[in-house]
Amino acid sequence: MGQGGNIGDTAQLIGCPVCDELHQLSRPDEGHRALCRCCGTVLITSRDRAGINILALSVAVMVLVIAATIFPFLSIDAAGIANRVSLWDVATSFRSGLLVLVSVATVLLIVLVPLMRTALLVYVIAPLEFDRPPLPRARGAFRTAQALRPWAMTEVFSIGCAVALVKVSDLAHLEFGPAFWMFSVLSLIVVVADRYLCSWSIWTALEEAEPT
């Protein structure tokens, strides 16, 4: 990024959201990133096929979350008695009194927020990718998707499964169902998709597609 010493047209500037340092706007070459010279925060990630990759990964996330919610997730047996549960059973396992609140939070964090976030990303990015004008309220949708980011806890939950496995191992025999493997793949996809997402590029694309 160039020196920001000479402040002219603000449209030619990019500010670091983390430390407030100004830079002259210059798009990095394909495959490269522009870093803040003051704090090192990634300002722009340039990838030609980022949009289509995010779309593909988002659709995969939606399919996998829904599948993992319906199909058996984990099964257990001890002394001849067996039990199998889906992701939905796990998320709604707090049933008594105030603990229902934890069920609500769990459903939000591992099912609804990830679904909502990917749906919003598809809503925003799909028209851009196919050279159509942005859908109504696309800006608000993308802001919401970004705000939801820390609250989609898919990958945290999948590590929770591993810890539960260890805790229960001396009590009973535990087995992973198909939905568990889907969910593990899903967690990886979520991490990869987040690496492709460059918010600066999407805001720029939105602006170019539909100038305010």
């Binding site: 990019i14 590590i159 805001w203």
Partner: protein, 201 residues
């Protein structure tokens, strides 16, 4: 080096575009523009304190109630780890203690340090403090593991008289404490670190 605040400009924290000071909303993304989140520190401390108030009962009441053929036992977070250690799994006990005791306590201390450092000043470089902040932000969500483990166990271990596991009240207070510390960390305006640093030099 020029910062937006010194040039009479405001950076949009959402889309990184730059606008003249005084403009209310970002013309590119529609985000509310604020040169600094003025009530940032009040919000940090309010969420921090609420999180701490939830964290204390989370450690005193049971997280899991296990019923087996030999009887019923209710375990707090630390009690559960001690139980695991007695079985000989020292490594797993250490992981549980690390995730539910060491990390939350470290998070409370780190956020408090960051907030005090921008109020009172600090000898540490801004880069070091930003790394600390990024670590807190990264690690914050992972504390939910414990709540998810309780959810998985209570859903799964329902084997009539052989064994059953029920969640205890600490599951709620612990989940709340994680959520409030996440909100506390997210309320912190990192630009204040450089403001404090520039005041000194």
């Amino acid at each position: 080096m020029t910062r937006a605040i010194d040039a009479g400009l405001v950076t949009c924290t959402e889309c990184a575009s730059v606008w003249p000071r005084g403009q209310g909303t970002c013309g590119r993304c529609g985000n509310a523009l604020q040169s600094r989140h003025t009530r940032s520190l009040q919000r940090v401390w309010a969420f921090w304190l609420t999180g701490l108030l939830c964290y204390v009962p989370a450690n005193l009441s049971p997280m899991l109630v296990t019923s087996t053929l030999t009887g019923t036992s209710a375990n707090t977070i630390v009690g559960g780890a001690v139980e695991i250690a007695k079985h000989g799994d020292i490594g797993i006990a250490a992981i549980v203690l690390g995730a539910s005791v060491a990390i939350p306590v470290a998070k409370f201390l780190a956020i408090a340090y960051l907030a005090v450092s921008v109020q009172r000043g600090s000898a540490r470089s801004p880069a070091a403090r930003l790394h600390l902040y990024e670590a807190v932000e990264f690690i914050g969500r992972w504390s939910m593991i414990d709540v998810f483990v309780v959810a998985i166990l209570s859903a799964l271990v329902q084997l009539s008289v052989v064994a059953s596991i029920r969640p205890g009240p600490a599951a709620l207070t612990f989940a709340l404490s994680v959520i409030f510390t996440m909100l506390s960390a997210r309320s912190f305006d990192t630009r204040l670190i450089w403001d404090e640093h520039n005041r000194k030099t």
